[in-house]
Amino acid sequence: MVKKRGITFWLSVAWIALVMTCAVGAGFLPLPAPDQIDWACLATSPDGVHLLGTDNVGRDIAARLFFGARVSLTVGVIAPCIGLVFGSLLGVAAGFYRGWPERVIVGAIDVFLAVPRLVFLLVAMFVFGSGLPAITLALGLLCVPSFARMARANTIRFAGREFVLAARATGADDVAIVLREILPNALMPMVAYALLVMGYVIVAEGGLGFLGLSVPAPAPSWGGMIAEGREVLERAPHVSMIPAAAMFLTVLSVNLIGDGLRGWMDDRESQL
């Protein structure tokens, strides 16, 4: 029996599509530049000129929100991919060869997980330079251990199965077995997990932005916008609340889509 995906799933897809459209089209829409200051409107409520109002220094919130979406989405899409690729490589190697490579990789993961994340992120950003590519790479590397753990567990699970034995009996070498027998099976749950990580990474980038450590100002990021709005929180709460709501809806949508996909894959697996 295939479970029907509910309305929440499609609403989530619609929201993500909307955010993507806004992020891509931010440059083409009739909006003020995200760093253009309108001295006449400081922290004003939404009106005809500024669709979502202005922030505490008179910049258009809608414009900043759309340009900020680029940061969140870029990080949210690319960082989990980095984690997925490198994590799979390490995890499959550990799970397939066992012995000392496994011990080295598992030990390295343990140590890496005990290093305070903030120290790693800040040092990584010093090394890679600040800016979007650096943040994406740093957060991507942070995702590697959990993907590696998962890939290892899945590889061990599948490496002993009959179809792997059969492939070996037909004379397939290690590379062929990993690529054609193990990866296709091990990868499926990891892709669903990647969506969960996407939500986590968007929040993490928001946290960095909140501390003023994401893309350098005046470039907008959602976390930075929430932080800046705190100065006028009492009389103009929308300055903080709008980016906060955008981030919440985006993370919620990503989580709901991931949940829907997991349900779909479980159904498929039980049909096999």
Binding site: V115, V119, G207, S240
Partner: protein, 317 residues
């Protein structure tokens, strides 16, 4: 005993690796400490002298060895700028972090335990689904965004709690606790969901077991079955997660500490990294790593106490 010994060895190895790795990582940073201390208009000779004096010219292994030797004497070194002993600085920041952590985890457990149990008990009801949806929503809120909303509602609108700042315990427990409620809540409201979920799924599995059926057949009330029979075998995964969360909070509440201006370890670490105060960063990293591995160690030991099978397997195998 062998169970404990092996765990302890692992603990020490991880600590050594983490601190060594931090030394290497920090070495990558562009070192301008000597310039900063020498001030503007200092000659290269002055800078070189300061570098020599601080021991920054030695290689990483030498410095790491020196630092380790210091640790063995209970000496964490001095701050590069304020010359304050690192241990003193940490000791003054730690209580704030611990109080925040305890309160946050207390809130999280208070929410997770009853809700997890009830929703496992009524696993097919509307209530179960409603709680699941609520949890799903809350788990998607970044804690800093939640904190901003809480500050707006409870300190700016209702004026129940202060928005920032931390009053020392000496000025009264009530005032002091008041300052910690919002920060702790903004952590707990996000963390409890994961705890509740694992407890619920483990509990649903436990409730299918034969001994529960037996208890039901004996006519025991649901309340007794849930709390006395089902809870204990169901809380392993939750305990592990609880340990991991607590370990992460020791240095991981940076954003919340910053937002509410609480002088905790996270803030100390952040400002030390910015000013490149290496001994201070090293001290914080050591504390955080020690906290992380200790909590995990305690959880492992608790496992053994809650479930004799773990103890026997570990010492027998």
């Amino acid at each position: 005993m062998r169970f404990l010994g092996g765990k302890l060895l692992h603990l020490v190895l991880v600590l050594l690796a983490v601190t060594a790795l931090t030394f290497v990582l920090l070495d990558v940073l562009p070192v301008s400490v000597a310039h900063e201390i020498a001030g503007q208009g200092a000659t290269p000779a002055d800078v070189a002298a300061i570098r020599e004096q601080l021991g920054l010219n030695d290689s990483v292994p030498v410095r790491y060895g020196r630092w380790l030797a210091g640790i063995c004497r209970g000496d964490l070194g001095l701050s590069l700028y304020s010359k304050q002993p690192v241990s003193t600085a940490i000791a003054s920041h730690l209580p704030v972090t611990l109080e925040l952590l305890l309160l946050a985890q207390l809130f999280a457990l208070t929410l997770a335990l009853p809700i997890g149990i009830v929703s496992a008990w009524r696993a097919d009801s509307k209530l179960h689904r409603l709680l699941g949806t609520l949890g799903f929503g809350l788990a998607s809120v970044p804690s800093f965004a939640l904190a901003v909303v809480l500050v707006y509602l409870f300190s700016l609108r209702l004026k129940w709690f202060p928005a920032t700042g931390c009053t020392p315990l000496s000025e009264g427990v009530r005032v002091n606790l008041k300052g910690f409620v919002l920060p702790a809540l903004s952590i707990a409201l996000v963390e409890w969901v994961a705890l509740m979920r694992v407890l619920r799924s483990d509990m649903i599995a436990t409730l299918q077991e034969d001994f529960i059926l037996l208890a039901r057949a004996r006519g025991l009330p649901d309340r007794r079955i849930l709390l006395r029979h089902a809870l204990r075998p169901s809380c392993f995964t939750m305990l592990t997660l609880f340990g991991v969360q607590t370990g992460n909070l020791i240095g991981g509440a940076v954003i919340v500490e910053n937002l509410f201006a609480l002088p905790g370890v996270g803030r100390l670490l952040l400002s030390s990294i910015f000013s490149q105060d290496f001994p201070m960063v090293q001290g914080c990293v050591l504390l955080i790593a020690v906290g992380y591995v200790t909590v995990n160690f305690v959880v492992d030991v608790c496992y053994g106490m809650l479930d004799p099978r773990v103890r026997r397997e570990a010492s027998g195998g």
